[in-house]
């Protein structure tokens, strides 16, 4: 049973996706989407003692389990939200839709293709989390790009086409560089006493001390740039705001909360090898640099951002910067960064789903045209407000704890300059988002949202509310199993530095 668990985790969504492409009824397909998500989450929850599969190519270590758990939880929320969303999008007989920004007509991609790609997307992300071989990891990360590009192009108009094209091309180039990184790593292993070593983590890590350091460093740089492109680290983030703002909101939630983490896992795997070779300092310096730069750049673009989905996208760039920074600082900050990955995914998932509610009611993404949400859409407005507090790291949300842990580790480690820059970036983002998001909630409803009171289906509210509640709960109480998982995962990264 335990040996079948990992293949089942990948195969369940894969088969679900194939079935979704075949069956005709819309309602059974939506049920299939939600059902697969539930099964996947149950399998993930029970994956504690999963044995390696495929001759050791696939295995679940605590790091993989952590990111798999995040992806699976978020996917369930997105799938439930998606059931209602798809009913609203394709429910009416006429499939021509009015473009929100330009008033031209467009149609949606077929629902079967959308659902199928969603499930394939889950399968590929699962494969990223369970791969123990860096080559398989590469194949899986590239596959996530291919499975998600059609999702971004669900609304068939020219802006989403542009976003999908940029996403596909930029990420493919990035991933190609990561492939070169894998090759460089393979060259580095040739200097070990036993000759070239397969890129399996369990074989690489014990032998890492004998690798050729120059090739290893070059390999890390290419892996960082390659996976960093996908993760959205500045200045390689250029695809991210476009893809997040033009795709359907549940896809944005998955991209931001699950996909970026999967790419981050690629960077972490490279760092594992680097620190096993005793070169952790080199990688950590790079990560701190990329992290601070991403935070600073995101803060600059959040101030005065006219579009609320782009604002959330830049906030993701900021939080990916925090993750990179935390791991780069080492020590206690690694725990903080991994905990922050959990918190960020929950809250950003919630915010994108709420943004979807606002968008479907107000029919505009422009912040200036949305006012008075607290009266027009009371529940979504309240969630939006809670999301603002959570994403900016206000207590008592989990984000506060994790951001504070990173700050404390920076100060304890004597990195005062880093701590100051970190605080400045956080403060700027807080002020910037405060100005934008509070104005949307307060005041009397603007023309765009005036006549929409009460148009809040429960299926569009429950998933984001649940994610938000989880994010809040983590700030008050971290369950022992999660804390243990986080500690074990952090030990994989910090134990050697």
């Amino acid at each position: 049973m335990a040996t079948l668990l990992i293949p089942a985790l990948v195969l369940v969504p894969l088969l679900g996706g194939i079935v979704a492409l075949i069956i005709r009824g819309d309602r059974p397909r939506r049920a299939l989407l939600a059902g697969t998500a539930v099964v996947h989450l149950l399998l993930t929850a029970g994956s504690g003692g999963a044995a390696p599969a495929l001759g050791g190519w696939l295995a679940l270590d605590p790091l993989g389990r952590l990111f798999l758990g995040i992806a699976s939880t978020l996917f369930l929320a997105a799938a439930l939200y998606g059931a209602g969303y798809l009913a609203r999008e394709t429910g009416s007989g006429d499939d021509r839709r009015r473009d929100l920004d330009e008033g031209t007509l467009f149609s949606n991609a077929p629902e079967a293709v959308f659902t199928g790609c969603l499930l394939f997307f889950l399968a590929t992300m699962t494969l990223v989390c369970v791969s123990n071989h860096l080559g398989i990891l590469w194949v899986a990360v590239e596959a996530t790009t291919l499975a998600s590009a059609p999702l971004i192009y669900f609304h068939r108009h020219h802006r989403s086409l542009e976003a999908a094209w940029k996403y596909l091309l930029i990420c493919s180039i990035g991933i190609a560089l990561a492939l070169l990184g894998n090759f460089l790593l393979a060259v580095a292993t040739k200097s070990s006493p036993r000759g070239e070593i397969p890129l399996r983590l369990d074989l690489l890590l014990p032998a890492a001390a004998s690798f050729q350091p120059m090739w290893l460093k070059a390999a890390f740089i290419f892996l960082l740039v390659g996976y960093g492109t996908k993760m959205g680290l500045a200045p390689l983030h250029t695809w991210l705001p476009d893809a997040h703002s033009e795709s359907p909101s549940l896809v944005s939630a998955l991209l931001s909360g699950a996909l970026l983490n999967c790419a981050f896992l690629g960077v972490l795997r490279a760092l594992q090898v680097l620190s096993a070779a005793g070169l952790a300092g080199f990688g950590q310096q790079l990560l701190v640099g990329f992290g601070l730069f991403s935070m600073g750049l995101a803060a600059a673009f959040i101030i005065g951002q006219p579009d609320y989905k782009r604002m959330l996208a830049y906030s993701s760039v900021e939080h990916m910067g925090i993750l990179a920074l935390g791991v780069g600082l080492g020590g206690g900050a690694v725990f903080g960064a991994l905990f922050h990955a959990v918190n960020h995914s929950l809250i950003k998932g919630m915010l994108f789903l709420v943004a979807g509610n606002i968008l479907s009611a107000a029919r505009t993404k422009t912040i200036a045209e949305v006012r008075g949400l607290s009266r027009a859409l009371p529940v979504s407005g309240a969630l939006w407000l809670a999301g603002f507090l959570a994403i900016t790291g206000t207590p008592p949300f989990g984000t506060f704890l994790s951001e504070f842990t990173i700050l404390k580790a920076a100060i304890d480690g004597g990195r005062l300059g880093v701590a100051v820059l970190y605080l400045i970036a956080l403060a700027v983002v807080f002020v910037g988002m405060c100005r934008l998001m509070l104005r949307m909630v307060q005041g009397s409803p603007s023309a765009a949202v005036a006549g929409v009171a009460g148009r809040e289906p429960w299926l569009a509210l429950a998933p984001p509310a649940l994610l938000g509640a989880l994010g809040l709960a983590l700030g008050l109480y971290v369950p022992p199993f999660l804390e243990q998982l986080l500690r074990n995962a952090a030990r994989l990264l910090e134990g050697l530095s």
Binding site: H158, A164, L169, A186, V187, Q212, M214
Partner: protein, 214 residues
């Protein structure tokens, strides 16, 4: 049989210059097909010869995909999008050729400086690999049309593949199949998108894909 390998590598570098200097898409796609066949054959001369059956299977598969299938997909996309040539690239053809020469120089410099592990690969192959990668990247950056950018991506991918072959890396078959499959699907999806772009914008100039920015 080292001279066969050297001949293939020299042809590879020449085909890189063809990409940089040619505006006719059909010609570029044919060159890409030729490149695919060449790099498919390369491992038979320079790769690890421990598993000939596996090496043959991989060579056959990569020639089938890179030498036949992908070029046909691209030609189809070219016909459906109704484009013949790359008009007015951001950087002209003569300038591109000059950049190519600079790339070649940089590639020589890198290949000469890299401390190669003993008993693996020739520095000529490393040079050809880097040059192919650079020329692909440059084509992506400097051309306007979506189709040419896909060609550039494939050339870059070919360069990385040559790097793996050149250093005689023993990548497992599963990974190589995975990489081939990914590249194939990537081009397939890109081909569909090119068709969509041509239908939406009535051409595939990515210069016009500029509604989304700050």
């Amino acid at each position: 049989m080292a001279h066969v390998e050297d001949l293939i590598l020299a042809l590879l570098v020449l085909s890189g210059f063809v990409f940089l200097g040619s505006s006719r898409l059909r010609f570029c796609i044919r060159t890409l097909a030729l490149q695919g066949i060449m790099i498919g054959l390369l491992p038979l001369w320079s790769g690890p010869r421990t598993l000939p059956a596996r090496a043959l299977a991989l060579a056959a598969l990569s020639i089938a995909i890179k030498g036949a299938l992908l070029p046909r997909l691209l030609e189809r996309a070219m016909r459906r999008a109704n484009v013949r040539r790359e008009v007015e690239p951001f950087i002209g053809y003569n300038a591109s050729l000059f950049v190519g020469i600079v790339c070649l120089g940089i590639s020589f410099w890198i290949a000469a400086r890299l401390p190669l592990p003993e008993a693996s690969g020739s520095s000529l192959a490393v040079m050809a690999a880097f040059f192919t990668m650079f020329s692909g990247l440059f084509v992506i950056i400097s051309r306007r049309q979506a189709l040419t950018q896909v060609l550039g991506y494939l050339v870059m991918e070919n360069g990385i593949y040559v790097f793996g072959v050149a250093l005689a890396l023993d990548t497992p078959a599963l990974v190589e199949f995975g990489v081939l499959l990914d590249v194939f699907v990537a081009v397939f999806v890109m081909g569909i998108m090119i068709f969509q772009i041509s239908r939406t914008f009535e051409h595939i100039d990515t210069d016009k894909l500029s509604a989304l920015k700050e």
